[in-house]
Symmetry: C2
Subunit: 131 residues, 2 copies
């Protein structure tokens, strides 16, 4: 069994793999299965702006994301940093937002508890038009 | 002498201390002294949006930041994650932007080379009105 930051990194990396699969395909089942019931997340803009509490809210959010990006979003991972409880992924993404070209630079920060993800914060590094 | 990720964390933490001092006081001299000549940074919005190359550009940028936030910005650090070359700081900030109340959630990612900071990426987690 892995301990501390090593387990956190392993769980977060599995979560990020499922997260990018969700962004690409719209199938969020694997990612959602990794979330704790009390999962909460922060999002920078729009109808989910700010703090969102509970797994139900997360399900609604990720479904909404895939409605916005019907053809899926492609992710290019640039950097991964971590500590005992948290892992941050810096990446660029690209796709069609309601049919219009979309590009961004993003940092997502996953909080890990045991084998699950209990929190998530998203940050935008660009304007949705370039990355 | 510290090696690898330990040195990176130490250098980045010193840089972040000078960075928050700059945000608070408008005095960027210590932070600028830690940047490599080929320092480059990414910023999400406005006239410095995207990639900015060179220490001169950084000087202009940080002076501009302190003109926008004349009374300074107060920073509350929430999390620090790192690897061999990069450290990410997640924080909330608050102040007056051209006299109007400003709040944001921010992630900044510092790339370290030796005892200096060679790159920086900023990401916004909120809308400038709440954090």
């Amino acid at each position: 069994m892995l301990e501390g930051s090593e387990n956190t990194l392993k769980v977060a990396q599995q979560g990020f793999e499922y997260f990018t699969h969700g962004l690409k395909t719209g199938d969020w089942s694997q990612f959602l299965s990794m979330l704790t019931e009390d999962f909460c997340f922060w999002f920078p803009i729009g109808q989910f702006h700010g703090l969102n509490v509970g797994k139900d809210k997360a399900e609604a959010f990720f479904q909404y994301v895939s409605e916005c990006f019907k053809g899926g979003l492609t992710v290019t991972l640039d950097r991964v940093t971590g500590n005992e409880t948290t892992v941050v992924f810096e990446f660029r993404d690209e796709g069609l937002l309601f049919g219009e070209h979309y590009k961004n630079r993003v940092a997502v920060s996953f909080d890990v508890r045991g084998e699950k993800i209990c929190g998530y914060r998203e940050y935008f590094g660009s304007d949705g038009k370039s990355n």
